[in-house]
Symmetry: C2
Subunit: 110 residues, 2 copies
Amino acid sequence: MSESLKKVDVFQAIADPTRRDVLRLLASKERSIAEITSNYDMSRTAIVKHLKVLTEAGLVTGQKLGREKVYHLKLEPLTEVKQWLDYYEQFWHNKLSKLKFLVENENEDK
Amino acid sequence: MSESLKKVDVFQAIADPTRRDVLRLLASKERSIAEITSNYDMSRTAIVKHLKVLTEAGLVTGQKLGREKVYHLKLEPLTEVKQWLDYYEQFWHNKLSKLKFLVENENEDK
DNA sequence: ATAATATGACACCTAAGGGTTTCACATTTA
DNA sequence: TAAATGTGAAACCCTTAGGTGTCATATTAT
């Protein structure tokens, strides 16, 4: 038993474009709430809510340093997404290469 | 110009557990709406809505055969997810292998 | 022809998601 | 110590998500 207090599903956490963008921001370096917020055209409160979701999904953690709270990225939960994707990769190589060809060359069955 | 009429983001489409499960069902074989519905404790109408979302994300397609409508899986949109994940894999191998070790062996920094 | 089956199309409900503003409090900085 | 900065927390709003039930219609099966 460990790390299982995730209140938010990682798939749900990454469903929102803003949240994916925040992850991208934190990938380069850790940032304070104010710093993150400065990148978006929305209120700090809204960003904090997104950070809460990301935190509960285990994708970020925040620690207080003085008066600011600095968030950094945590990649572990992405393994779940990767594993989920891996399941479909078996079909990928069998079918997708063909399908992709068909799609790119459009309506073959017309 | 092709396939770009996706009204629903693939990340949003896979955010719902039921929808991920429907994808899993369709991975084994194509199924009619009634057949899909029989696997869940919810109304056909609800399932149809999920199928609509999946369709608009490009993850499934349905074709009418007689009086039933048969859905089958389409994997292409998952490439977007895969690419997104790949971006983070650069950190994965650098940091995650270590992190994973730390996590699995719990609180090292205590 | 009739009955059973499968789906389509609505109207409707409730909770949750994503956003806002406002105010209070803690911590720096001048 | 006074002002500025960064955050926490609450109340509120609107739209959408996910679900329901009902009725009509098309297609099989008896």
